[in-house]
């Protein structure tokens, strides 16, 4: 989201203020009474050693990471590196994660989405998108590790409209933010309206192991696709995305793409898309089965929506689709039944590149005046919707249908709470599932200035915890995070079943070593490659001495042979920019080139025991041309004796 400070002024001039009659709270001022403050403190206090009720997974924006906090304490408890290296867990330094990162050093994480079964979180995987480099990642919640990065997804430029998980995790649906000419072709911007294309994509998920692959794509007009939602209940099998720039404009979009009163929601029947793919009604574009919705009717429709919408959301029943135009002070409620009827009766108001545009009035249920700059909506499962108001810096609670005939739309907004300050996404516990919990809401705010100690120009983002169990929302906590949270998932802790260490029996790495005697280093003189299997345990490495020749490529497989929780070992090596962190039972591979002769210590980087400092060894890089007696055979045997004998050897050396 852009930080459009001027927007407030513009909308105030337009006379759109005054919704809900809520008095604005001056910046930095707490509007809570002493008793409320005390209650809030008690409601969020988790005493040392006690556990939170919920996991909060929030995206880290351009930091490329996912953060994990506990709710209600809001304590940050873990960082899951996804699209950027993270020395804290050695991510991006071992061969596997380096390969996954694919040469990129950052990504722009926006929308985490938990895997679902029957429309509820099942605790298996978390998918996150990369808005920058057109990728999507899967985090395995068994070990909270990034296990796959898919992409760059072809025909996609800026994977913003994702990750949206279907009811049973059949697909993760994504949409390109930017439209471009495909297949790396060139067309000047003057030909934007005709030569540029957008696409929405179905990423197929292997139900057994979660492996992602590109299933199919649907070509779209060159709009900018924003955010999406998947259907549930009656709307299961459908997906929705918002767009901006239905003007097909280029240049200063702030003006050129804000001319029309309405943009579009894409209404996609993804099950029909899947069928079209199976029936071969596709033409490959950059290797992806591409569906042209003008030629395959029934796959995609467009539905007008309030100007420049950001969020589109489907309520827990799946009966209502809510779209918020950020340049209009309303959230629009569409009835999915009416959308289907309109399609069946062909109540179309036109088409865009052959894609039928559903008549707005046919699908519309009500426009609810929620407030200024509505963005995203979540649900509490008790018949209410919560919409973030970016411009107004507030959250509106409003009533979902059914509505009485002739109801005053203003009366549907039942509560509003100011946040500090500009709220983007918001998340309710289970708020995008079929069964939201209606307990907590977290507002993810931009521009938190004045709320915390000054840490210089780069200020923290604020996340505010709101109790939504009562009729009125209550602000109960405020926390700050690294840049830059967008969306989040809030899930009950018992849904997840993470492991405590990798069981030895499950180790599949052929280079794993579980006994000091199996550790060994071998050198292939022909390829100038040294390969070592390194055994790591409290408080030593086996071998503790590795000799290589200057110029050798050194590949080390480090096994942490511990089978106890939290006995993590690192392997950092001086002067080579390599640090891997190996969890108990895990084997990681690190590769480096010994360019310069010398002796380089390696050591355990993750504090492991009382003798942690002693856990070290030496990589000897012997100058080229110098004889190396140790090259022959198994170097590991030299040190393969049990630790106590090893100690004797060192004493006598």
């Amino acid at each position: 989201m852009s930080r459009v400070a001027g927007l407030t002024v513009a909308l105030a001039v337009a006379g759109l203020a005054g919704c809900g009659g809520i008095k604005p709270v001056p910046p930095g001022q707490h509007a809570m009474a002493t008793a409320d403050v005390r209650n809030a403190a008690l409601a969020t206090y988790i005493k040392p050693g006690d556990l939170d009720t919920y996991y909060l997974f929030y995206s880290g924006g351009h930091s490329g990471q996912v953060y994990v906090a506990g709710v209600p304490s809001m304590r940050h408890i873990a960082t899951i590196p996804v699209f950027a290296p993270y020395p804290g867990t050695g991510y991006g330094y071992d061969e596997e994660s380096r390969r996954m990162l694919g040469g990129f050093t950052w990504g722009d994480v926006h929308h985490p989405a938990l895997s679902k079964t029957d429309g509820d979180y099942d605790g298996r995987w978390l998918f996150v998108n990369d808005n920058a480099n057109n990728r999507i990642a899967r985090i395995d919640l068994r070990d909270f590790k990034t296990r796959q990065i898919l992409g760059p997804i072809p025909n996609t430029m800026g994977n913003h409209g994702s990750s949206m998980v279907t009811n049973n995790t059949e697909y993760v649906l994504v949409a390109t933010r930017f439209s471009v000419p495909w297949a790396s072709e060139y067309a000047p911007l003057e030909e934007y309206a005709t030569k540029f294309h957008g696409a929405v994509t179905g990423i197929r998920i292997d139900p057994k192991d979660g492996t992602m692959s590109v299933g199919w794509q649907i070509m779209t007009p060159p709009f900018d696709w924003d955010l999406g939602a998947t259907g549930k209940g009656a709307s299961d099998g459908w997906a929705f995305w918002t767009s901006y720039n239905s003007e097909r404009a280029t240049g200063k979009l702030e003006q050129t793409a804000s001319r029309k009163d309405r943009d579009y929601i894409a209404v996609v029947n993804w099950k029909a898309a899947e069928q079209a793919m199976r029936a071969g009604k596709t033409a490959p574009v950059v290797g992806v089965p591409m569906i042209d919705p003008a030629k395959v009717p029934g796959v995609m429709y467009l539905l007008p929506c309030g100007k420049s919408p950001h969020g589109v959301d489907v309520d827990p029943s799946g009966d209502y689709v809510i779209c918020s135009g950020k340049l209009q002070p309303t959230s629009t409620v569409f009835s999915f039944a009416r959308i289907r009827d309109a399609i069946a009766r062909r109540e179309f108001s036109g088409n865009e590149d052959g894609i039928p545009v559903i008549r707005y009035e046919s699908a519309l249920m009500l426009e609810v005046p929620v407030g200024l700059g509505p963005l995203h909506t979540q649900f509490d499962g008790k018949g209410y919707a919560y919409t973030s108001l970016y411009v107004e810096s507030a959250i509106a609670k409003w009533k979902l249908p059914p509505y009485a005939p002739g109801v005053d739309p203003k009366s549907l907004v039942v509560d509003k709470i100011p946040v500090q300050f500009n709220v983007g996404h918001l998340v309710v516990a289970g708020g995008d599932t079929r069964h939201p919990q209606g307990t907590y809401l977290v507002a993810m705010n931009k521009m938190s200035r004045g709320r915390h100690l000054n840490v210089g120009p780069s200020i923290p983002e604020s996340s505010q915890l709101i109790d939504i169990t009562g009729e009125k929302m209550t602000m109960i906590y405020e926390a700050y995070t690294d840049p830059e949270p967008h969306f989040a998932q809030l899930v009950r802790r018992e849904v997840l079943k993470p492991i405590e260490f990798y069981p030895k029996e499950e180790s599949r790495d052929p280079n794993a070593v579980w006994q000091p005697k199996d550790a060994k280093v071998t050198r292939n003189a022909a390829t100038h490659t040294v390969e070592g299997k390194v055994y790591a345990i409290r408080s030593f490495y086996e071998p503790s001495r590795i000799q290589v020749q200057e110029g050798d490529t050194v590949i080390l497989h480090i096994t942490n042979a511990e089978q106890e929780r939290d006995e993590i070992h690192g392997f950092g090596i001086t002067a080579f920019d390599r640090n891997v962190v190996v969890d108990p039972g895990e084997t990681k591979t690190v590769k480096l080139v010994a360019r310069k002769s010398g002796v380089y210590p390696y050591y355990c980087t993750n504090f492991c025991s009382a003798l942690h400092q002693e856990m070290q060894g030496y990589l000897e890089v012997v100058p080229a041309g110098r004889m190396m007696a140790l090259y022959t055979g198994n170097q590991g045997e030299m040190h393969a004796a049990p630790p106590r004998d090893l100690a004797v050897q060192e004493e006598t050396q």
Binding site: R538, E562, Q563, E564, A610, L611, E614, R644, A647
Partner: protein
């Protein structure tokens, strides 16, 4: 030594045999080590023929003080005890059939011998493990004897030692055999004999 073991007392002998045989598959003795770092505790459970529990982790910790790593192969007892139990059980069954007093005294004597051997071996093993510490170990501590029963604090660990079913059952079996023996010595004659 010619009195007969009669009636339900034969059943007692068979029961004693079953109990002793069952003990082969049950834990004899265990120890739980608890410290702040191991809130769930580390367990070592000794069965007649093997040792179970968090042995790797216990060895890992013990190596700092130079204690001999615990493994099944280290103990001759783990091969002898199942045989011992089996012999005692067989002797009980035999007594039920032979029905002579001497045949009842035999399993009791075997039991006493086995118990004595077990107790002696445990005491010496515990002493040995706590005293035979490698002088080259990273951490030097005063030699000690881990507890056989009850609680003891060693470094940051509270050790809780306890006996278990594999010990209790043969003890009860011993009591049953003793009962048979006593009643035969005291009350032999038609009073009990009439019940057959």
């Amino acid at each position: 030594m010619t009195r007969l073991v009669r009636g339900r007392r034969r059943l007692l002998l068979v029961t004693a045999a079953i109990m002793t045989a069952a003990a082969i598959f049950l834990p004899l003795w265990g120890m739980t080590l608890v410290s702040t770092q191991y809130p769930d505790g580390l367990r070592m459970v000794v069965y007649p023929d093997h040792i179970r529990g968090d042995i790797t982790e216990i060895n890992m910790l013990n190596h700092y003080i130079g204690m001999t790593p615990i493994s099944d192969g280290l103990f001759l007892e783990l091969r002898l005890l199942p045989i011992g139990f089996a012999i005692v059980a067989a002797a009980c069954v035999a007594a039920a059939f032979v029905r002579r007093l001497w045949a009842v005294v035999l399993p009791l004597a075997l039991m006493a011998a086995l118990a004595g051997y077990g107790l002696w071996s445990m005491t010496s093993r515990l002493y040995q493990f706590g005293h035979d510490l490698d002088p080259r170990a990273a951490i030097h501590i005063a030699p000690f004897t881990p507890p056989m029963l009850g609680m003891n604090q060693i470094a940051q660990f509270a050790s809780y030692a306890y006996f278990s079913w594999g010990t209790f059952l043969p003890l009860v079996a011993g009591a049953l055999v003793t009962l048979v023996l006593m009643s035969d010595v005291r009350g032999a004659g038609p009073r009990t004999g009439s019940k057959t």
